[in-house]
Symmetry: C3
Subunit: 357 residues, 3 copies
């Protein structure tokens, strides 16, 4: 498995930074790629624990640690005082999972098949969740736009933060309601690959091993995330890119790369329902859980981050994802051309993110 | 029936205002609650008349008096020179019926049931109507935004009004076309509770009684509405709320409370098609009939109100309702979680309305 | 056939301009109407060639010359230095085909029928394409809006153009991918009337005749288009209309009139799938092919036109079309009332276009 070999990047990136001193760009590049296998190992350990704990606790575990690497990375960027990069990372996760991840999976999955199908019901629930999450997520930015003309800047900032906190609480409650709904009806929209779904299951680990991997994985992720956030500014300058672009494209892809691989794997196995759950479900988790958690944590850390996306392009990107996923999911089948359309929207948005100053 | 007891509020509110002089907040609170049973009695009398008159005239009667209380309330607020509060009331009706009313009905109705179903066709027609109405309703505000940068303020105002009048006429024509379509095909999207639908029918009234209740109900509603509009400004100040917030939340809920109760009643009876017709249908009536009627009446009264919603949040709220209802209605079934999502959107919007200055 | 008689307008319009000198309004009016039969004859010749060439090459021919008249007209307006009128024409084509064309066809087609049906799958693919195209088409304008506040005007213009070029290339690639997808799966979303579809087929022409009609039709269209673009400014002044309005309503209708007639024809034959393909498919062709081609050609001509729609109303119109078509197409059936709704949206948008300065 390639993810095991990629773990070698951990000592390499640490060595480069602390001993060789090759400059921030090398640190950034190696540390960011090292997070990919770490995210995958955290996921694997979580699954092992979840498997032992039964569906109820297992679901909770999966939720808590499913986005652990992404959350840690975002927290370190936040601590280094760059809330707009964190928001760009949130936008990028939403856009990347549903356009890049789903688009790639559809294109790869439809190779040699005329079309692939999935159950409409699941797609319908995902669409509903997506739309409601998007309205809530876009509201603070539109509120800010309204308010900026009417109130003093400091007042507006204070009101923005209050609204963001309120929205965060409502989103997390909606997420909890969804968990309860899932546990009650056993109709899991955030499906995780399991035996029955055809994932190649390794032997199950003893509990101490799962816990050890979890702790070690989280600790190393934090270490690498610190390197990434420290080298972000200088790397952006060295590459001639904006920090915004690094956040919205690079950081977002890194935090979700393991999910893209899983989505492509199941698309080849012709399990499109699972593909939708992984990619769109992951987008929804970012909107309903990761983003509000970051708002709340940042508030208690004393470095409050609101939900006002700084760049209007982020709004059109988030709204566009919602409509594109709706259109693709509505008919219960996918063709390679639909995958190409999703990738085309991703490319077009990336171009705009690249050009914007 | 609680609505009968609430009628006691009529003498109480009048007494408070004219004899006790307890201050505007007491007047406002009692008068506004007194409108709830009045709206319900006007509705009951209308139904009695409609039942006798046959479907064609009956439908017209239902349409004309279905929103009578809401219209009267809006007219008195308009006369007192507060068009922006009236527009807030329109927004609030749209948002309240489709998010609060439908959300509550779904949550209450799904108690003890895994899911509830309805016919997709009806939902599809409601969605189409909703989308058309929303485009037409949002257009004047976007026109105003475009125009404001280009023309002189007085020119812009004149153009806004011309466009609003034109839009109002088109919306009313679309409403009439819908009535004709309904009468021809006997497929009533604005269903009203009838015997066959399982409503507990009281004995039918003689015509003179229906007419008497209608006239008295309308007259008392006007009286209470005058009290409400007179006490609006001071009540807002006393409560520390904006008039905008009172309009968009309080006035809107009062005008539609009877419909919420009916929606919840039929949701418990598992008649979700009727629930959709009542809540979403009511939203559509506000957009296609109430709003344009107010534009036309205000024009002839010499206090012209245009359709330019003053607050950009109103636009996102109206657009958000459209997308949320579409997402919920698309799959032909509802679960309690979908109800929670609708309520979550309502809460989030309310927070923004509360914070905006 | 009325289109044959309308060809008489060609000598009339040329005569008026070069001999009688009746003024620009007469030139404009006759030249613009003369383009209608020319577009129809180019289409007829293309079909004849396509019929002989087999589906693969035939499809390409249809695509290349299907919008020939529209493209030629736009190019001449572009050469005369009016990119905003060309963009208005693009908007008008999008709006006109999907609202006016489809609306008229539905209303006429449903005469004497309670409802008409079509296959949902085709409508689903059209909707997906429409949404992608709209996101891509609206992006440059939102980018421009973002950028204008941050960069110097000349920088913003340069960035706008780069983004527009990039978007144009992606759109054309998506169009090519769609062609390939169509050829592979033989599921043609851009259906053209063929024998089996019940079109009244004339005798097939010899190749030389088809080529001659194609060349002559294109040449005369160019000639008339030059007259139109030359007389545009003075005609607008004489009529008291803005050039924007002429572009968005008049030029757009002229370029697509032949398609409206075809759509109405097939609606009467109860072939609603074909009607959707002609009208919505034509809208998609404008967005995926005509608009990006104009951006690329204008770039190489040295008179670059970007994709930043000048008027915010164009954005709401384009987005509105997408949602309206989605709503109408989602349920797989049409009633006359849905046609009326589409026409109502068109009327409302036209009023706004008329009033805007």
């Amino acid at each position: 498995m390639i993810f095991t070999w990629l773990l070698l990047l951990i000592p390499i990136s640490l060595g480069m930074h602390y001993f060789l001193g090759l400059g921030p760009l090398w640190t950034f590049a190696t540390a960011i790629v090292a997070i990919v296998p770490l995210a995958e190992w955290i996921g694997r350990a979580t699954e092992q624990l979840a498997h032992r704990a039964g569906p109820a606790i297992g679901g909770l575990l999966n939720v808590s640690f499913g986005n652990a690497a992404e959350l840690i990375l975002a927290l370190f960027v936040l601590i280094s005082g760059k809330p707009n990069v964190v928001k760009a990372q949130i936008t990028g996760s939403i856009v990347g999972n549903s356009l890049l991840g789903l688009g790639l999976a559809i294109v790869v999955g439809s190779w040699g098949r005329e079309r692939q199908t999935f159950k409409r019901e699941r797609a319908g629930l995902l669409s509903s969740l997506l739309i409601l999450a998007m309205i809530a997520l876009l509201l603070p930015a539109l509120f800010d736009y309204t308010e900026r003309g009417l109130a003093a800047p400091s007042d507006a900032r204070r009101l923005d933060e209050r609204l963001s906190l309120g929205v965060a609480v409502v989103l997390i409650l909606a997420y909890v309601a969804n968990l309860i709904s899932t546990l009650c009806t056993h109709r899991d929209v955030f499906a995780f690959p399991t035996e029955e779904n055809g994932a190649p299951r390794e032997q199950s680990w003893p509990i101490w091993q799962s816990l050890a991997v979890l702790v070690a994985g989280t600790a190393f992720t934090a270490w690498e995330a610190e390197l990434v956030s420290g080298a972000l500014e200088k790397s952006a300058a060295a590459l001639g890119l904006s920090e915004f672009f690094l956040g919205v494209i690079v950081l977002a892809i890194v935090g979700n790369a393991a999910e893209y691989v899983a989505a492509i794997y199941f698309a080849r196995k012709n399990q499109m329902g699972l593909v939708l759950s992984i990619t769109v479900g992951s987008t929804i988790q970012v909107a309903l859980l990761l983003a509000p958690l970051l708002v709340l944590i940042s508030h208690f850390m004393g470095k409050p981050m609101n939900l006002v996306f700084a760049n209007p392009l982020e709004l059109i990107a988030i709204a566009g994802v919602t409509f594109a996923v709706n259109a693709i999911a509505a008919d219960g089948e996918t063709t390679w051309f639909e995958g190409v359309l999703l990738l085309a929207v991703y490319v077009v948005l990336s171009m705009a993110f690249y050009l914007v100053k």
